[in-house]
Symmetry: C2
Subunit: 349 residues, 2 copies
DNA sequence: TTTAGCACTCGTCCTCGGTGAGTGCTAACA
DNA sequence: TGTTAGCACTCACCGAGGACGAGTGCTAAA
């Protein structure tokens, strides 16, 4: 990373901030009238030429002003973005959000995505807490007729998962009741991540004793646990149409790949966008994104944790010309609030 | 409704179909070379002038061809659209869809919306079957600690609903078990629509006898049944970005209101779009839509039924320049398939 | 090192004429 | 009376040309 003079930093920061505001290339004259630093346009032009040579600025065409390059944004985020306080109005909206009574975790995630997108005017994405961190509270098997049945699993946060399973033929009456009772007696309190190993290691022996049809029971439980642990969990995307308001996406052909990605049911990729990589706020600018259709976008994300372990994440997707300072601040706050809320739910009650 | 001569009908149909294909105003010369009717451009121009005077055609500007008006589309749909057979490829896609094994009704609805949007290249909307038509299979109350609990309700189609409820303080141990047992003994088989009346009329007496804390039990059940019956049910929207491919929506400002409507969580209004109004395929052209942001769109919808009663619906949203014949045929087929499938689920098993 | 001056670049906007698709009208024709 | 050929007219679209202005790079002076 090159070393910039204090004045160059000042100018770079001013250009980034001005461009974020106006979405128009910033000229030297505009800057010279700008603020603290009293410099003539010519001086600023010299500095800008240097900054462009170093790769921090781009010039759309010869007679236009300068625009931050992706490298410029990166430098701004890493070294220049000042941690301003949140404006009181934003803070109030967020406080109100988390003061609300929201019983279901699903609702919390849903509302978070909505509020994030409203506040930022970008698209927002929120991933529910990974279910396999949660503990089993209750298991139930409800026969539907024929061989069909629904397996229901309730976690200690009150999250309910259900899967349709196929029962083996000719289950003796009472056998299923015994199975359910055994499971509840033995599995309540187990983290979902260890459901399978518990099944085989600790209660298999007992199942052989208690149940006449051991293999059949295992087959049902396999069906339940298989999709459950690997499932992507809840994903909520909000404010997609906000992207249409951004000037860089006034052209339909530009937004289209982004909207298509956001709409696609291929949530695995969505998860890639906002991976669970440690604490703090992460910023991916343009080409830093692994997904090609986001190369003109910035993804800002943060994770919320329970007991220090990341369990879910939230993110904001917008153009590279993004209000970094504000979005990062908002995400930081929100992730913190979610961490507190989820910790309370997962350990407190 | 004015009476059109056979030739006028022929010309109107040709214009509508040509415009649906090309999205460009149709000129007299193009039409004269068109097909069966051997007429000179001049003759066709005369007829077109008449049709315009009657309101079936519009002219974007003096020296452009003609475009069907909304009245023209309406006439076309009502009198001219020929019931062509579905092309084999479309038919195969639909057959494959419903041949798939889809245990959960939710998956059926989800997949239907996806396939509809893929086939039509418009946006598709699918509404899950109204839950209050279904019958109770199982009720469960899982305490979470403190006063919180989850109430779970399974219907005979295997649909699982859950709500967080607040328990009264100091429930005697065993009381809740008794409550759940009583509910299951008495309520299994009841249609959800009659849950509340059953609660009060038929088993209230028994509850007073069996339970020490009758009022508390009722308060819990109230919480469960309240949101359950009035809930909007499952709504899936798919293929929203398909709209971006339509030439009439190349301008961002034109798509925006439509996408915003489709994204909005205000599903009540979405329900208004595709109301449960009897059998058959419904077409709403432009201003016929009650929602202002759809005034340049056509909504084609159909309902699926169980035992003759409409329980859910599907729809396609696209520009007024829509391939009516094909979309209507596809929706007709799909609604029929859903009717068969849901009937089997709701009554068969 | 900074600044004033100046020529230069280049995107934007406007105008303007040519082009062509399409029309309306009229008169002739079957 | 319905149909067709002919013809003048309209008007969106396209590309060229020119004025404008924001902004630059360079040079020379402070």
């Amino acid at each position: 990373m090159d070393v910039l003079t204090p004045r160059q930093k000042l100018i770079l920061a001013a250009i980034v901030e001005d461009y974020i505001r106006s979405a128009e290339p910033v000229g030297s004259r505009t800057l010279s009238k700008h603020q603290d630093f009293q410099l003539s346009p010519a001086t600023i032009r010299n500095e800008m030429a240097d900054l462009e040579e170093l790769g921090y600025l781009d010039q759309p065409h010869t007679s236009a002003g300068r625009v931050p390059s992706q490298k410029g944004y990166r430098y701004y985020v890493d070294h220049l973005a000042t941690r301003r306080e949140m404006d009181p109005q934003t803070l109030r909206v967020l406080r109100d959000l988390f003061r609300q009574r929201m019983d279901e975790v699903e609702r919390v995630i849903q509302q978070t995505a909505t509020v994030l997108s409203q506040l930022t005017q970008y698209a927002a994405i929120a991933l529910g807490p990974l279910i396999h961190q949660q503990h089993i509270r209750h298991i139930q098997l409800v026969p539907l007729g024929g061989n069909a049945a629904v397996a229901i699993l309730v976690t200690d946060t009150g999250h309910v998962e259900n899967r349709h399973v196929t029962l083996p033929d000719d289950i003796p009456p009472g056998e299923m009741v015994r199975l359910v009772n055994l499971l509840n007696a033995k599995l309540v309190g187990t983290p979902l991540a260890r459901l399978r190993s518990h099944l085989y290691q600790e209660i298999a022996a007992e199942m052989v004793e208690t149940l006449e049809r051991y293999e059949d029971a295992i087959s049902v439980l396999d069906q339940l646990s298989e999709t459950l642990v690997n499932g992507p969990g809840q994903v909520v995307v909000g404010g997609v149409t906000n992207m249409l308001g951004q000037p860089e996406f006034r052209d339909v052909e530009r937004v289209r790949p982004v909207l298509e990605l956001l709409e696609s049911a291929d949530w695995r990729r969505a998860l890639d966008l906002v991976p669970l990589t440690g604490p703090g706020v992460q910023v991916r600018i343009g080409m830093e994104n692994p997904v090609a259709s986001l190369q003109d976008c910035t993804v800002v994300s943060a994770t919320y944790t329970v007991g220090g372990v990341p369990v879910g994440s939230i993110g904001v997707i917008g153009p590279t010309r993004m209000n970094y300072a504000r979005v990062m601040r908002i995400l930081e706050y929100t992730a913190g609030a979610l961490t507190r809320l989820m910790t309370e739910r997962l350990t407190g009650s």
